[in-house]
Symmetry: C2
Subunit: 354 residues, 2 copies
């Protein structure tokens, strides 16, 4: 028998990290920034003429693109903006992964990639990270329909440098290579300058981590005018107005406040170094993070147990019960106070278990 | 020869209405509301704890869904929200139009429908409106892969009532029927109550017209828990956080301010009646609008010329050089002052041409 149910899409969605309404918690599970957005962004919000919200936003978010173009030293025709970097990446998958061959990415990486492949019917293959969780660039010499890679990678926190990226690009001149730089501001190598040499390179970024604006949904991409043009055409075939007027205003002000940006990023890096050292002193193995989170494990203890223990103490970190990383925990870098509470609870856990 | 360019998507995007930065203009071309958003929505913005913008929004926008559920008298499991109604519609096309048969909609309607069909590879067929620009419901008895219809329709401004919608639903029990109610608050018949009877009915709405929040990008849909569940799964396969924190806060406050909503909607309707009468007095044919815009024509004059004339006078209306409607202009209802200026310029045009 026919039914409208035959025409419904069957799909398994991405599951985001847990959220809690409790206020007494330490929320270091979603890679959010512990510091508030730039005071200049807040001022832009307070000064916004709210009567103008009756109008549609500028469909091209031109002023925000101009601010980003100036900041990154590229042309405005090299900049794309969207409703968070997930929106930008989803549009990029639809724009650039249109060949018949499988696209390529690592086995351990951002868990949204296979979800987009399923949604858009894009074939894909994964290459395993090596035993130190590094990407083997030689894997990507194989013919493919495109490449996507976070750099630094998540949830490993490890980044690759210019040599690696150049080799990746040289091996893949016939595909679009997307480098997802969500975490790059915390110490990674940025490929933005390479977009001037490689027409097939798209670099994606976000205001959700280093700019403390996760609540406003602002993502961007930088690439050749050729790639940006296709991305714009696909975006304008999906939703003309993806970035709202307040996000545009706050985004511009944030980009223009370099001093605040530097100060808060440096604070996160300093705290990361301290927490890494403290954990290592207690026998943890901690990967060398270039992000605002760390991946850690301890030979003598179950990380799943530690995760549950901390949860009971209202310290929320992230645990992935996935092959190869089920022995690790992922901890977002919070304020020094938050990390002190985290470290104290870790100490209690280790002592309880002795 | 192989090239990355072979893997790029080829597509023709939707083209939104013109925008101008000039301040001395009368902008009655994009169906925006002439009145500012609810003062309560503005207050919600001013009172928002901006420190919290460092956090991701609630991925389900639960509080906004609850406000809409209460307003429309449905369950929270019957409500979906998105980044403007274009986002909601684009997700609905991907969620519900997955059969092999062509989906059905009128020849003259929202111009984004064929664009989404092309983007998502959905086959479609169109049925011509009759000579009075009405939809012939009997056309939709033919087997199809789904139905989408704005009610009231755009750019015709004409709406259909309960009998029509019930017949449409009875003819299409085996497909999902999407009723796009972007303009319904200005005097149309809303099918929201029918979602309790018809499991295959999805009703879409927006905060961009009657709620003066086009700048914030808030759209929603109401339907059976079955349909909303699929829509959520597809949305969570695309972008987990589509509605930002400030849009959620302002959206809730707007829905809760019924008095302001009623007052501004009634003002638009009153102005619409006046402008319709004035134009008819001057020999225009004006369709009986149930929206915040009117479709008008005049036997003795070229509407394209009138459009250009008004543009030169900084009065921006919309003209579609498309078959069957190239004899009409579409005028958004502005404030009384704006419409007086529009009417004065129309009078000048008619006199100049005599």
């Amino acid at each position: 028998m026919n039914s409208y149910k035959d025409k419904l899409r069957k799909i398994t969605p991405y599951v985001p990290g847990e959220q809690s309404k409790d206020t007494d918690i330490v929320k270091i599970n979603a890679n959010e920034n512990p510091y508030p957005p730039s005071p200049r962004a807040v001022e832009a919000l307070k000064n916004f003429n709210t009567d103008a919200l009756r109008f549609y936003p500028n469909a091209n978010a031109t002023l925000l693109k101009e601010a980003l173009a100036k900041y990154y030293g590229v042309g405005v025709e090299n900049v794309f903006v969207g409703n968070g970097s997930d929106d930008v990446l989803a549009l990029a998958f639809q724009s650039f992964f249109c060949g018949r061959e499988a696209i390529a990415y690592p086995d351990i990486t951002y868990s949204f990639y296979p979800v987009w492949c399923e949604l858009f019917h894009i074939p894909y293959k994964t290459y395993p990270l090596d035993e130190h969780f590094r990407v083997n660039v030689e894997d990507y010499r194989e013919k493919n329909g495109g490449v996507v890679l976070p750099n630094p990678n998540a949830p490993t926190s490890l980044g690759e440098g210019e040599d690696f990226i150049r080799r990746l690009l040289d091996y893949n001149a016939d595909s679009v290579v997307i480098i997802d730089e969500a975490y790059v501001d915390f110490g990674g190598y940025s490929s933005v300058a390479l977009t001037k040499e490689y027409e097939n390179l798209l670099v994606c970024g976000t205001f959700s981590k280093s700019r403390s604006l996760a609540g406003m949904r602002i993502g961007f991409a930088i690439g050749s005018a050729e790639l940006i043009g296709v991305l714009e055409a696909v975006k304008n075939s999906y939703n003309s107005y993806t970035v709202d007027s307040l996000s545009i205003a706050m985004g511009i002000a944030s980009v223009e406040d370099e001093a605040y940006f530097r100060t808060t990023v440096d604070k996160v890096i300093k705290t990361r170094t301290r927490v890494t050292n403290e954990l290592r002193k207690r026998g943890f193995e901690v990967l060398d993070s270039q992000t605002n989170f760390i991946m850690a494990t301890h030979d003598g203890y179950s990380m799943k147990e530690l995760f549950e223990y901390l949860k009971a103490k209202k310290v929320f970190i992230r645990y992935f019960s996935l092959p190869r990383i089920e022995k690790y925990i992922r901890i977002t870098i919070g304020t020094d106070d938050e990390m002190d509470r985290f470290l104290a609870e870790v100490k209690s856990f280790l002592e309880d278990k002795q």
